[in-house]
């Protein structure tokens, strides 16, 4: 079936609807005490998992588009990706505001000393940079470098589940499932990754020409 522009518009509308429904659910539960006895933890988990879920879905789009020859599908990828950053931003805000009481220096020291926060912060910064550089204008200006920049999403895809894994006391089933899903999503891109890794190692082997 050929995808028409109106299908993409409709799909985008659905994505907005679903995302905003989750936001409404979160708000509703916050106000009615449905987040449980420790609502800060409840909110943290809600937003964190929402961010993980949308990140996974974002990386599902290209493989599906390729497999079912629906190239136009890629047009919704930016929207889903931005929602992933949206949830990640609320996740961080919850932590900073409700857990740390807006203590910026405490945030810095915690990120520096707790490994699970370090990898979380790293994933967050990656998503931030990708969100900022997601516009078509920037994509045009960066050219082929844009794709290299946005390949960093693969690192975020791995770091985010690790952040989750390291944050739990013992219930590792969900983090492990997210990690497994991440690895499956990466395996769809094995050709690209094999090309990417040599490029990475060539950076480190390139000697400085100015000594």
């Amino acid at each position: 079936m050929k995808i028409m522009p109106r299908h993409i518009t409709g799909l985008k509308a659905v994505i907005h609807l679903i995302s905003l429904s989750f936001l409404a659910l979160m708000t509703y539960q916050t106000l009615t005490g449905g987040l449980g006895a420790d609502p800060v933890e409840g909110l943290s988990h809600f937003t964190g998992k929402a961010a993980l879920n949308t990140l996974m879905i974002t990386l599902l789009i290209s493989p599906i588009a390729r497999r079912f020859k629906l190239g136009q599908l890629v047009k919704v990828r930016r929207l889903v990706g931005l929602y992933s950053f949206f949830w990640a931003a609320i996740h961080l805000l919850v932590y900073l505001a409700l857990d740390l009481g807006f203590d910026a220096s405490l945030l810095a020291s915690e990120i520096a000393t707790r490994p699970y926060l370090t990898v979380g912060a790293l994933s967050w910064v990656i998503l931030l940079v990708l969100a900022i550089t997601s516009t078509q204008g920037i994509q045009r200006r960066l050219g082929h470098r844009w794709q290299k920049l946005h390949n960093w999403v693969y690192l975020a895809l791995l770091l985010a589940p690790i952040h989750y894994y390291w944050s739990v006391k013992s219930g590792i089933t969900e983090p492990v499932l997210y990690l497994a899903t991440a690895l499956i999503l990466l395996s769809f891109r094995h050709k690209i990754l094999r090309r990417w890794l040599p490029v990475l190692s060539s950076f480190s082997r390139t000697p400085s020409t100015r000594s």
Binding site: L31, L35, G36, A37, D38, K49, D99, E110, T173, E174
Partner: protein, 338 residues
């Protein structure tokens, strides 16, 4: 002076149910012909992977707790602001019934705790077995409002009902060579689904075991609890009897005890076996010794109100019980013996 920004949706103090009505609510309900009292069960807001598929239906649960008569205690801190009963009943770490905080209230709803036996053996002159009625009748029940600090960095203030652990141990007359007290929870995978499934049970080994040094066990603060908030314990809180050691992280306060053994060697403890570099034998609340992965310098207190009234407070040494217990650890390096 309290400067507080009250959200529009917050109820006023005057909206609360009058205490006399609250205390007579079961009579009132009975008179109205409603005899099935539902225990509050929270719905779970979650964007998790499988939550759409796990049919966690929450039917009303029969509340079979009974009232207990208690004496006041000098070890109770009545100045503490209490955690609401509904939160104590629905926010539990009891992996025998699942690892989500709301799991035990649901899965342990029909967990029968009568009949029950507690065996006290090992290095004692008088091995003793107590039945369900014994734990309520053979001891003077006190109400003790204690702080509870979980290793996960949240805390509650709970009005426990119970009697000193020392009184229980005295019934068995420990031998002088007894140096430690070991505790064991019930092992019954048929009644405790977390013990039958590794995923449900959080990956820890069962039965759940814990231990104290004999002087810690004989400290007047160490409590065997058989109830809270004026009633016997709900299953999710470790019915029919559990340990409460308020100066240690909550995982030391073992639930649903079936066996207490006096021994001369440091007994194994469940969380220490799972991750020895993260959970020690002593597990004293200590803001200066962080968990390897997170800080123990502060805690989120679970009290009245919702999200915007949840507060982070600094953690105090020995959870505020330093006066009573610091002496037990004189000369010890609490960073090494954590």
């Amino acid at each position: 002076m309290l400067i507080k920004k009250t959200p529009r949706w917050a109820l006023k103090e005057s909206d609360a149910t009058p205490e006399s009505v609250y205390h007579n609510r079961r009579d009132i309900l009975k008179k109205l012909g409603i005899t099935l009292v539902g225990m509050p069960l929270a719905s779970q807001a979650n964007a998790g992977l499988f939550d759409a598929f796990t049919g966690k239906d929450k039917p009303a649960v029969k509340d079979s707790r009974r009232q207990l008569v208690t004496k006041p205690s000098q070890y109770s801190d009545s100045k503490l602001s209490l955690t609401p009963e509904s939160k104590i009943l629905q926010y539990n770490n009891f992996y025998e019934f699942g690892t989500d905080k709301s799991d035990p209230a649901v899965r342990a709803a029909n967990f029968q705790t009568n009949p029950w036996t507690v065996q006290i053996d090992g290095l004692v002159h008088r091995p003793t077995t107590l039945g369900y009625e014994d734990i309520f009748s053979k001891f003077t029940l006190e109400e003790r409002i204690y702080r509870l600090r979980c290793v996960e960095a949240w805390s509650m203030n709970i009005p426990w009902i119970g009697f000193p652990l020392a009184e229980l141990l005295k019934k068995a007359n420990p031998m002088s060579k007894a140096k430690y007290v070991a505790f064991e929870t019930l092992h019954d995978p048929k009644r405790m689904p977390g013990q039958a499934s590794r995923r449900l049970g959080g990956g820890i080994d069962y039965p759940y075991v814990e231990g104290l040094r004999i002087d810690e066990a004989m400290n007047p603060l160490a409590l065997i609890s058989v109830g809270l908030y004026g009633k016997t314990l709900a299953p999710q809180n470790g019915a029919p009897l559990r340990l409460v050691v308020p100066w240690k992280y909550g995982f030391k306060s073992i639930k649903s005890i079936v066996r207490i053994t006096l021994t001369d060697k440091e007994p194994p403890t469940t969380w220490n076996r799972l991750a020895p570099n993260e959970y020690g034998f002593y597990a004293n609340v200590n803001p200066q010794v962080d968990h390897p992965r997170w800080s123990q310098g502060s805690e989120r207190f679970i009290g009245e109100g919702s999200l915007f009234s949840s507060r982070r407070q600094p953690t105090t040494m020995f959870n505020g019980y330093a006066n009573e217990v610091a002496g037990l650890y004189k000369g010890m390096d609490l960073r090494k013996q954590f």
